[in-house]
């Protein structure tokens, strides 16, 4: 966080400055929506390694980072992108081949962990997962946790309700806070100071943003004035949390951005095909490396496909899009 000042930066500079090898990272969005894909591809291009990635259900973004070998540790609730990959393919492969360490939580638990981080408390309570293996089985063992100062010493802790039976609750699970080194989110509108306006569901973006030491924002529209202050009720993240703002139209592509464009079913289907085959996935990665900016990547997709996914003004998604 940086209290004040002009925070507009080029995306490659922002990534270079803040996303270091071994960095603890979280990305916004959900499955096939509003993932900060331009930033994900920039991280891949800069060949940043050994990331500790915090994901709830950040489907496509998480899978591409894992597929590119950028991730060594993963804390996750769900690795899937809906119809296109009910289990993300590179995610699955990396786990089975033990290329990454993984720790499982539920979606609510991951969200509570970001909320705890944003609130500045070490944990939050829930009843979710009592009696399950999510509590019993730890992906990161006590020793690994002890060696790693950026990790809490326990996956989670069961606690008897200290208020007797208050709220008919005998027991809760406490889940530890997450404070990522860096959070990257993609939003519809941001201004030069870092105020953000998200249209549609916010997923866990707001909590992830406020929990982070450093916040990088990419946006469809960049306001170079105080226009967003005309509707303060609609700005979910005030500028004091932001470090860098990059103007990247189609910055969530190939995932969707409500009111701007839909996900690209052609890209996502092709990706799933590539992901299944080692050779083809390497070629896919080469194609990412070879495009120096998100604009180049979009150019290779072509105007026609981008027009197909353009959102209907009223609906916020592309109604006539062929999604089979």
């Amino acid at each position: 966080m940086k209290v004040n000042g002009y925070k507009v930066k080029k995306l490659d500079d922002a990534v270079k400055t803040y996303v270091k090898d071994g960095c603890h990272l979280s990305i916004g969005g959900f499955t096939l929506n509003r993932n900060p894909m331009a930033a994900v591809y920039e991280i891949i291009r800069q060949k940043i390694k050994d990331l500790h990635l915090y994901a709830h259900s950040n489907g496509q973004g998480a899978d591409e980072l894992i597929g590119a070998g950028a991730v060594s540790c993963l804390e996750i609730a769900y690795g899937g992108t809906g119809k296109f990959a009910s289990t993300c393919i590179r995610f699955r492969k990396a786990i089975l081949e033990k290329q990454i360490r993984v720790e499982d939580y539920s979606n609510y638990q991951m969200t509570l962990r970001f909320l705890a981080g944003s609130m500045g408390v070490p944990f939050l309570p829930t009843r979710s997962s009592l009696g399950t293996d999510i509590i019993k089985k730890w992906g990161f063992g006590p020793e690994f946790r002890e060696q790693n100062l950026k990790l809490p010493d326990k996956k989670m802790v069961e606690l008897e309700n200290p208020f007797d039976d208050w709220c008919d609750t005998k027991k809760v699970v406490l889940v530890p806070a997450i404070n990522p080194d860096v959070t990257i989110i993609h939003v519809q509108k941001a201004d030069y100071k870092g105020n953000c306006r998200i249209d549609g569901l916010t997923f866990a973006d707001v909590e992830q943003a406020k929990a982070a030491r450093t916040l990088i924002i990419t946006c469809e529209e960049l306001l170079d004035d105080d226009y967003l202050k005309n509707n303060p009720d609609r700005n979910q993240i005030p500028f004091i949390h932001a470090d860098a703002v990059a103007h990247i139209p189609y910055g969530a592509y190939p995932t969707a951005c409500y009111k701007y464009y839909d996900y690209d079913p052609v890209f996502l289907k092709q990706y799933a095909e590539f992901a299944k085959n080692e050779g083809r996935y390497q070629s896919y990665l080469e194609s990412i490396y070879s495009r120096k900016t998100h604009t180049e990547l979009l150019d290779s997709v072509g105007r026609e496909r981008l027009e197909m996914i353009m959102a209907d003004k009223n609906r916020g998604y592309a109604r006539k899009l062929d999604r089979r």
């Binding site: 609730a77 809906g82 289990t87 979606n107 509570l112 997962s129 009696g131 399950t132 569901l201």
Partner: protein, 253 residues
């Protein structure tokens, strides 16, 4: 009238949903079942998603719970925190019905959607809990979709992702969970429910053309089949509403 097994499953699950229910649903057939209920037998039911949209219009079928199609004309768009809080909330939780799926299920309705084999060196890896563990922990009733296969109806789960009745009638209480638990399991052959006393799964119904014996052959554990009856196939009305209103482009069906 001809129908597919997927259609049958969606309709059978939809029939379990009532007008006062708030239906939590995921992707694929679970979303279709929720939409079928709303369009056929429970028009007052409310559909809601873990991502924070409630009572969405759903003019077009979403392909994920993060799909922008669930954001259009909702009563409220928020985020994951609010959605799960609605399920854990002491007043709203009793109205929420969850629709879940899994890779494995046991006789007490516990679910595995994480791994096959050893957790630290799995043979197969699935997506993980997502919101399933949360839903199963919080809500009063859940409807579970399963494929009727021996490797899926397991004596012992490889990983317990989402709690059913855990180890029996006192299981949830001992663990600290609220009452509630799975209501029924809808498969491609029939439907199971859970005994109100023992909390063990039993066969409640089988599809036309299926005999209970076939169902038992496709399970690793034994269940009571004495209470089973044949399930009515989808009516013409149910089918046409499902096909025309819920999935006209056959994205799931």
């Amino acid at each position: 009238m001809d129908y597919t097994l997927k259609e049958m499953m969606a309709i059978v699950a939809a029939r379990e949903i009532q007008n006062s229910d708030i239906v939590f649903c995921g992707t694929g057939i679970s979303m279709l079942a929720a939409m079928a209920a709303k369009n056929i037998n429970a028009p007052q039911s409310v559909i809601f998603f873990e991502t924070g949209a409630i009572d969405s219009e759903l003019e077009d079928l979403p392909l994920a719970v993060g799909d922008s199609r669930i954001m259009y004309h909702a009563s409220s768009n928020s985020g994951l925190l609010d959605a799960f809080a609605t399920m854990q909330n002491r007043f709203t939780c009793s109205h929420v019905v969850g629709i879940l799926g899994a890779a494995q299920i046991d006789i007490y309705g516990n679910l595995n959607s994480t791994v096959i084999g050893d957790y630290h060196g799995p043979d197969v890896r699935f997506s993980g809990s997502g919101g399933a563990c949360d839903v199963a922990s919080f809500v009063s009733r859940s409807i579970i979709f399963m494929k009727q296969e021996k490797r899926k109806f397991k004596k012992k789960l490889d990983y317990l992702t989402s709690p059913g009745y855990l180890d029996g009638p006192a299981g949830r209480k001992k663990a600290g969970l609220s009452e509630g638990g799975p209501d029924c399991v809808v498969t491609d052959m029939g439907m199971m429910a859970f005994d109100s006393e023992s909390k063990k799964m039993f066969l409640r119904g089988y599809y036309p053309g299926i005999i209970p014996e076939e169902i038992l052959q496709n399970m690793e554990f034994e269940i009571d089949v004495t209470r089973a009856e044949e399930i009515k196939p989808p009516s013409a009305n149910e089918l046409s509403l499902l096909r025309e209103k819920c999935d006209p482009h056959r994205l799931i069906l």
